[in-house]
């Protein structure tokens, strides 16, 4: 048997891609005024900031507990509300179990719209409706959670064993029973994992939303920064680091046990 000829090297193609990417980066850098020299020249200012930021103000720590709780509470509300709404949204967008083509296409597009708009946009939208504060933050994260969970979960639902749904239908079951008894029991572990993942994202999200007035630790961070209390800022950043890591480790440990 003849050995096959090696496939042609597509040097030209790679070169074109490389030059194209390089040109795009250069264009972007010039447009936004990105320059390394400016960074180096201002290093002195940066180092002064760093000196003022150290040591962290541990005396400030007790006053962080309340805001931290609020941040986690905002994330929790957002996750729970989003997780409940995400179930029907995900099921209707899963082609094999969706009741008809029209429902499927409408729900798919609904999910795409939710996912395309960032959580900050939703926070602004709800802030105009209910005012800046924790409620607007929780509502924004609810929408964000629906977007995240329904996208992941509908893919799990699409991968279920459809033969089981036929067993429910053969017993005279309705569409609701086919979903509740034949479909969802197959994917609850994945669902729980996605909800935990959404909670992780929401804790971080609720800190960012705090920066724009949704309450919690983000808001404290913003006020301390505006008052040049850099030692307190460092304390907050360290505490955030620890809390986020703890929540992530907890979530990862539970998710590993689920799947």
């Amino acid at each position: 048997m003849n050995r096959p000829a090696p496939p042609p090297r597509r040097l030209g193609l790679w070169l074109t891609i490389l030059i194209g990417l390089g040109a795009m980066t250069a264009w972007s850098g010039i447009s936004i005024g990105f320059s390394v020299s400016e960074l180096v020249c201002n290093a002195a200012g940066g180092s002064r900031l760093l000196r003022e930021s150290w040591p962290p103000d541990f005396a400030f720590l007790p006053r962080l507990i309340g805001p931290f709780l609020e941040t986690v509470q905002i994330a929790l509300i957002g996750t729970v509300v989003g997780a409940v709404i995400a179930i029907p949204v995900a099921v209707l967008a899963a082609r094999p179990v969706s009741p008809n083509w029209l429902t499927w296409i409408l729900d798919r597009n609904f999910m795409n719209i939710l996912r395309t708009l960032p959580d900050l946009f939703w926070a602004m939208l709800f802030a105009t409706a209910v005012g800046f504060g924790p409620l607007a933050g929780a509502l924004a994260l609810s929408v964000f959670s629906v977007a995240v969970i329904s996208k992941l979960f509908s893919e799990s639902v699409e991968a279920i064993d459809l033969n089981l749904t036929e067993a429910v239908r053969a017993s005279g079951g309705s569409w609701l029973q086919m979903i509740g008894l034949g479909t969802l029991p197959q994917v609850w572990p994945q669902y729980a994992a996605y909800v935990l993942y959404a909670f992780e994202l929401n804790v971080r999200g609720s800190m960012v939303l705090g920066l724009v007035g949704a309450g919690g630790i983000g808001m404290i961070l913003e006020t301390q920064r505006a008052n040049f209390e850099y030692e307190r800022v460092t304390m907050i950043v360290l505490a955030v680091l620890v809390v986020v890591l703890l929540i992530e480790q907890f979530s990862i440990a539970v998710r590993r046990r689920l799947t």
Binding site: A167, G172, Q177, G180, L181, Q186, P189
Partner: protein, 267 residues
């Protein structure tokens, strides 16, 4: 057991029944026969002969293209909806691959047999009425695995899972049980246990039972009546004890081979 029984005890009636799938494959062609109340019927034929199609037309999982199927005088509805669900509630089905929700308890799997009699929201929220749970338990007792009621279905052996499948069908309190290759995934010993279960339930409760089988020796042993299908056509209809190797040759369109027998080692 002639094909023209008196109409008052006919359970299932096929008249000119045919199925052509959307891809053009003919699954069933011009089948006319009667199955009487309480009969134990075995359907044989090589794979692709239309055995599954035949069973699935009875509960409307596969709609007929031509002709009619009636279950106790009522035509099988062609459209999805309440009528079809109510008919399916009276017909239990047992599958080759068991079709149990593996992560869920045996009891909850058997309760799926009660879906048509329980309000949708109650069943979905797992708030089954006491009487339906009782029915599920007695169905499990009848197949002898009530001790596994709270075990996850996926933890059982194949034979035990198929018994759960039978219990699920029984929980429907059905008039008819359709068993589509119920022993094809089981070892020889378990095969006989499951067939004995089906036969005993047929005798004790008088449930009309139709079983698809591809092993000829099992068909001859358990089929009080044997229906042979070849390429979707009815080619044999007679008593199990009368069936000869020549009949099998006609049904299969070839001489029976070793693979067509279970090779009874243990019974």
């Amino acid at each position: 057991m002639s094909a023209t029984a008196a109409s008052n005890d006919v359970m299932i009636r096929f008249r000119g029944a045919g199925v052509t799938y959307p891809n053009g494959v003919v699954g069933l062609q011009d089948v006319s026969l009667d199955i009487r109340q309480g009969e134990f019927v075995v359907i044989v034929g090589s794979s692709g002969a239309g055995k599954s199609t035949f069973l699935r037309t009875i509960n409307g999982l596969t709609p007929l293209s031509t002709g009619t199927v009636e279950v106790s005088g009522q035509p099988v509805p062609r459209r999805q909806g309440r009528d079809l669900r109510q008919l399916r509630a009276r017909i239990g089905m047992v599958f080759q691959d068991f079709r149990l929700v593996r992560r869920v308890s045996v009891l909850n799997n058997v309760l799926i047999g009660r879906v048509a009699r329980v309000a949708g929201w109650r069943s979905v929220l797992n708030l089954w009425p006491r009487a339906d749970v009782e029915l599920a338990f007695s169905a499990l007792e009848r197949v002898g695995i009530v001790d596994k009621a709270y075990t996850r279905a996926g933890e059982l052996s194949g034979g035990q899972q198929q018994r759960v499948g039978i219990a699920r069908a029984l929980a429907q309190e059905p008039e008819v049980i359709l068993a589509d290759e119920p022993v094809a995934s089981l070892d020889p010993v378990t095969c006989h246990q499951v067939m004995e279960d089906l036969l005993r339930i047929n005798r004790e409760l008088g449930i009309t039972t139709l079983v698809n089988l591809h092993f000829l020796d099992l068909a001859r042993r358990y089929g009080q009546r044997i229906i042979g299908l070849q390429q979707g056509r009815l080619v044999f209809d007679g008593a199990g004890r009368d069936v000869t190797d020549a009949d099998f040759q006609r049904i299969y369109g070839r001489r029976p081979e070793e693979d067509d027998f279970l090779q009874e080692a243990s019974t």
